[in-house]
Amino acid sequence: MVSTVPVYIISAAFAGVFLLIAAIISNAIKFEGGANPKDPGKRKMWFWILAIIGTIANLLFGLFTYYYPENNSYAKSQLITAIGIGAGICFALYIVLGFVLSATIKNGKINNWFHHKK
């Protein structure tokens, strides 16, 4: 029997770290002038790219860095399942937190993640 709780905690941490990276990148993208500025679209694009990268990174981190008990196939499969679920949690948490942040910070660059104003 292995504890899967740390796997989920690490997944949540991944979601938080990648959300932070998305926020930093979004703020680094300058406001553009003109009637059809590209910057809101770029921020949105980076948000979704980081959602995918974060989830995959979380998955790979689990698969390659956790210790798998060789003589306990049940525990091993339990851990792999937890890693898969953790990646799902990471993705979902990233999206939900991103949506909440975007809705909360109405005036600013993070708002572009879900509210691309035209």
Partner: protein, 541 residues
């Protein structure tokens, strides 16, 4: 502040460029709550400078018009905003089309007719045969003794035709009469005249226009004019290449203005304006405006073989002296009282040493704070719209960009503003500052032309007039004013300044007051004015 009704008259090529400067002062908001009646008076209706000022006034009026309806054209006078003055334009030109010359107009061309011989002799006493023979379609060609007589004659003839309701009365003759009758016999009228005193049309007309208008009014209504007249006495400040013999041999070209005589003309004209009793009786203020350095050469980059005396090709850039004339008009219009019975001769000097000038806001007007806010404010908006909003190319507009950016900061307004209005506002900003041609070269707008006309400092730091696009893009619109408290963009990049402007634009959503306008276009222009005024901390909004 004076409540007199204002009339401004531009005469000849120089007069038109002075008028251009005057219209730009109106655009930056220097004539709040004023309705200004403008008359363009030129012998050459195809003159490049004349058509340019007509187009400018039309663009100004289209920006101010709340709708496409004819009755809305030009909007109304507003307060504390850009484009605050209402401009009414009247166009008049004596009809010198075709091959009309003095002989034809005076009906003395037939030398065999006994009845005209006496008139021929009389004309020959004052005018050389060359002066009587050149075609008048491109103006009076520095022949002021002939021009004054002809301009007076043209105005009186137009009046006669209108009075008699003649069949061949032209619409522009009716318009002139309407303009004169509007000035009427009321004393609360101020008329300011722009023109040079060393060239042709302006120099010929400035001395006679008040008298001609008075006589025309008397002829039409039996009343005398009691308006206050003012004018700029602008002496020699430009030159062009002298005409060659081949050009003078062409039919009707036997007299061509020669700028070698402009200094002499200026000297003679100043003596005349100082001593002539009619001038002293008719004018209240005469503003002496001179140029102490080498005149600017209008033929410098021209490939034309001949001297250009008029026509479409005469589209010369604006000069700082013309802007000074516009400020003379500003002084005249806002003057509180006119104590002197005879003409007052006015001047002021500008710091000048070793061929360089130092023009500061205080040199232009005593109300320098208002000018600082309006001038730097309009410049900043124009600059950021053309650079940050990528609107410097032809047929591009930058107003949508501001509205888009303001949305990022939570302000969603003016969605009802139509695209033509956005384009008109942007086109005005290009005319004011600069534009980019198809190959990416910077084309000088009015302000850049003024800056290029002399050496030295001109109101804003030198970097504000950069010529390379890469340098222009880096100009920080928020650090142009000298006092740190007015520098809203200090320690910021040009991009960050634009963002701050857009954010403040949103904050100013409820700031537009009734006197600043009610219609959509009026409100957005007022909101832009309030935004920049708040940032610059020069004017309470």
């Amino acid at each position: 502040m004076s409540q007199d009704k204002i009339y401004v008259i531009g005469i000849g090529g120089t007069g038109m460029r002075c008028l251009e400067c005057f219209v730009h002062l109106c655009a930056i908001g220097m004539f709040d709550n004023k309705e200004i009646n403008i008359l363009t008076l030129d012998t050459d209706q195809e003159n490049g400078n004349l058509t340019r000022v007509w187009q400018l006034i039309d663009l100004y009026n289209r920006i101010k018009s709340p709708s496409e309806k004819t009755e809305d054209y030009g909007g109304k006078p507003l307060n504390n905003t850009f484009f605050s003055a209402k401009l009414n334009l009247t166009k008049y030109w004596p009809d010198y089309s075709g091959e009309k010359n003095y002989k034809a107009l005076a009906r003395i061309s037939n030398v065999n007719d006994e009845n005209t011989k006496e008139n021929i002799d009389l004309a020959s006493l004052f005018l050389s045969d060359d002066a009587q023979s050149f075609y008048l379609r491109e103006g009076y060609r520095a022949q002021t003794h002939l021009g004054s007589q002809l301009m007076y004659h043209a105005i009186m003839e137009a009046t006669m035709k209108v009075k008699q309701d003649s069949a061949d009365v032209k619409p522009w003759e009716k318009d002139l009469m309407k303009f004169i009758e509007d000035i009427g016999d009321k004393p609360d009228r101020r008329v300011f005249i722009f023109g040079s005193i060393f060239g042709g049309t302006g120099a010929s007309s400035i001395p006679v226009v008040p008298k001609a208008f008075n006589d025309a009014l008397y002829l039409k209504t039996g009343k005398n004019m009691s308006a206050k007249f003012g004018a700029s006495l602008l002496t020699e400040y430009f030159k062009f290449k002298s005409p060659n013999d081949a050009q003078k041999k062409k039919p009707g070209q036997n007299v061509v203005a020669d700028s070698n005589y402009f200094t002499l003309n200026s000297q003679a004209a100043l003596q005349f304006y100082r001593n002539d009793p009619t001038v002293q009786d008719t004018y209240k203020c005469l503003y002496n405006i001179g140029w102490p350095v080498e005149p600017i050469d209008f033929s410098k980059n021209s490939t034309e073989a001949e001297t250009i005396t008029g026509g479409k090709e005469q589209k010369n850039p604006c000069h700082i002296t013309e802007l000074v004339c516009a400020f003379a008009a500003y002084d005249f219009i806002n003057r509180e009282n006119f104590e002197n019975k005879s003409a007052e001769y006015l001047f002021r000097d500008v710091p000048f040493s070793e061929g360089t000038f130092h023009f500061d806001f205080e040199d232009m007007t005593a109300e320098s704070s208002s000018l600082k806010n309006a001038f730097a404010g309009f410049y900043s908006i124009a600059l950021m719209t053309l650079t940050f909003q990528k609107a410097a190319l032809e047929n591009t507009e930058g107003i949508s960009g501001w509205l888009q950016l303001a949305k990022q900061f939570g302000y969603d307004g003016y969605s009802e503003l139509d695209s033509q209005s956005k384009l008109n506002i942007t086109n005005y900003l290009k005319t004011f500052l600069f534009s980019l041609d198809k190959s990416g070269h910077v084309v000088n707008g009015w302000l850049y032309q003024i800056r290029d006309s002399f050496n030295g400092k001109f109101l804003l730091p030198d970097l504000a007039y950069a010529k390379q696009w890469s340098a222009i893009e880096k100009i920080n619109a928020g650090t142009l004013l000298p006092d740190t408290e007015n520098q809203w963009g200090k320690d910021k990049s040009a991009d960050k300044c634009a963002q701050q402007f857009a954010k403040e634009f949103g904050n100013q959503k409820d700031s537009v007051k009734e006197g600043q306008g009610k219609e959509t276009k009026e409100r957005i222009i007022a909101q832009l004015f309030n935004t920049i005024s708040t940032l610059q901390k020069l004017k309470q909004v």
